[in-house]
C-alpha cells in the first residue's frame, strides 16, 4: 500500500511541486497544510505515515509544529523541507525530532530518497 504523506508548506506552488514528485514516485498525498497550526490539526485527523514540513510559515512555524506533533505521537516521522539551511536551524529541527532535513530548492530524487529511508 502506498505510504501516506502530509505535505506542509505555506506556498501553494511548493505544495503542488511536492505533490507531483510524491505521486510520481508511488506515494499518496493524504493532505496538505499551509501553516503550523493546520499541520498539527491535519496530523491528528489524518495520521499520515510521514510529514514533509516547511519551517518559515505564518501562525505557527514548523519547529513548533514538529514538537507538538511529536508530543501527541512520539512515533511521528517528519522530514523538514526548508530553504533555511543554516546549521543552527538544522540542529534545532533535528533536536525537535525531525528525521531528516532537506534544503530547498530540492532535487526530486533527494526527497524520495529521504522519504524512503524514513517511511520505509
Amino acid at each position: 500500500m502506498a505510504k501516506r504523506v502530509l505535505v506542509v508548506d505555506d506556498t501553494a506552488f511548493m505544495r503542488m511541486s511536492l505533490r507531483n514528485v510524491l505521486e510520481k514516485n508511488g506515494y499518496e498525498v493524504a493532505g496538505e497544510a499551509a501553516d503550523g497550526e493546520e499541520a498539527v490539526a491535519k496530523y491528528q485527523e489524518l495520521k499520515p505515515d510521514v510529514v514533509t514540513m516547511d519551517i518559515t510559515m505564518p501562525k505557527k512555524d514548523g519547529i513548533t509544529a514538529i514538537k507538538e506533533i511529536l508530543a501527541d505521537d512520539p512515533g511521528a516521522k517528519v522530514v523538514v523541507c526548508s530553504a533555511m539551511g543554516q546549521k543552527p536551524m538544522v540542529i534545532e529541527a533535528l533536536s525537535a525530532g525531525a528525521k531528516d532535513f532537506l534544503v530547498k530548492p530540492f532535487q526530486p530524487e533527494r526527497v524520495i530518497e529521504a522519504l524512503n529511508k524514513v517511511a520505509g
Partner: protein
C-alpha cells in the same frame, strides 16, 4: 543617518563581496529550482548606494514590478527585498511551469513567492556561514505594483538608520530568455556594525 561616504573602502569592498557570494548562492538555488537548467548569470553588479539612487536601478518609480519582501531577525535585523520587472517575472514562472504564462494568477504569484523565499534564504544561508550569525527570514510578503509604491511600502516598515543599502543587480539567461532581478539588503540598527566587527575585526566608522 550615516551616508555611504562614511564607509571605508575596505568596508565598501566587504559589502560588495558579501553581495557577490550571496548572488552566487542565489543563482545556484534558482538553477536547481528551474530543474537544473543552465542558468547563466551575467556578472552581478553589486552596488552600495544611497536610498534615493535605488529607484533608478529598478527602471524608475513607475516600472511595474513584482516585489518579494522578507524581514530578517535572529542575531541581526534587516530587510531584504527581491524585485523583478513584471515581464521578467512572467518569463520566470513560464520556465518554472514549462509553458508560457501571460498573467500573474494565484498559482503564478505563489510560485514567485517561493522563488523569492528560496533566493533570499540562500543569500542568508551564505551570510550566516560566513559570519556565524543566525539569520532568520520571515514569511515572504508579495506585491505587484509600481516600483515606487512597492519600495515605499518596504521602507515604511523599516527603521532606517543608514542612508545606504546593498543592492545586487543580476541579469540571468535561461534558455535564451533574459531575466532581470534585484536583491536589496536594507540594514537595520547595528547590522553593518556586527558584520564589520565579525569579518574585519573593527567597528564601523573607525
Amino acid at each position: 543617518m550615516r551616508s555611504r561616504d562614511e564607509l571605508t573602502p575596505m568596508q565598501q569592498d566587504l559589502l560588495r563581496e558579501l553581495g557577490n557570494i550571496g548572488a552566487g548562492n542565489a543563482t545556484s538555488a534558482l538553477s536547481t529550482l528551474l530543474g537544473d537548467k543552465r542558468l547563466d548569470m551575467v556578472v552581478p553588479e553589486v552596488v552600495v548606494c544611497s536610498l534615493p539612487d535605488t529607484m533608478g536601478l529598478v527602471g524608475g518609480p513607475e516600472m511595474v514590478v513584482v516585489g518579494i519582501y522578507i524581514t530578517m531577525s535572529g542575531d541581526a535585523d534587516g530587510h531584504i527585498a527581491f524585485m523583478l520587472p513584471k515581464d521578467s517575472a512572467l518569463s520566470l514562472v513560464g520556465i518554472l511551469v514549462g509553458m508560457p504564462v501571460e498573467e500573474l494568477d494565484e498559482m503564478a504569484l505563489s510560485a514567485l513567492q517561493e522563488v523569492g523565499n528560496i533566493v533570499v534564504a540562500s543569500y542568508l544561508n551564505a551570510l550566516s556561514d560566513m559570519t556565524g550569525l543566525k539569520l532568520v527570514p520571515s514569511v515572504p510578503a508579495l506585491a505587484v505594483d509600481m516600483a515606487g509604491a512597492v519600495w515605499g511600502a518596504i521602507l515604511a516598515g523599516a527603521q532606517i538608520t543608514e542612508d545606504f543599502i546593498t543592492v545586487i543587480k543580476a541579469a540571468f539567461q535561461v534558455d535564451g530568455t533574459s531575466l532581470d532581478a534585484l536583491i536589496m539588503m536594507i540594514p537595520e540598527a547595528d547590522y553593518f556594525e556586527r558584520i564589520f566587527s565579525i569579518l574585519l575585526g573593527t567597528e564601523a566608522g573607525e
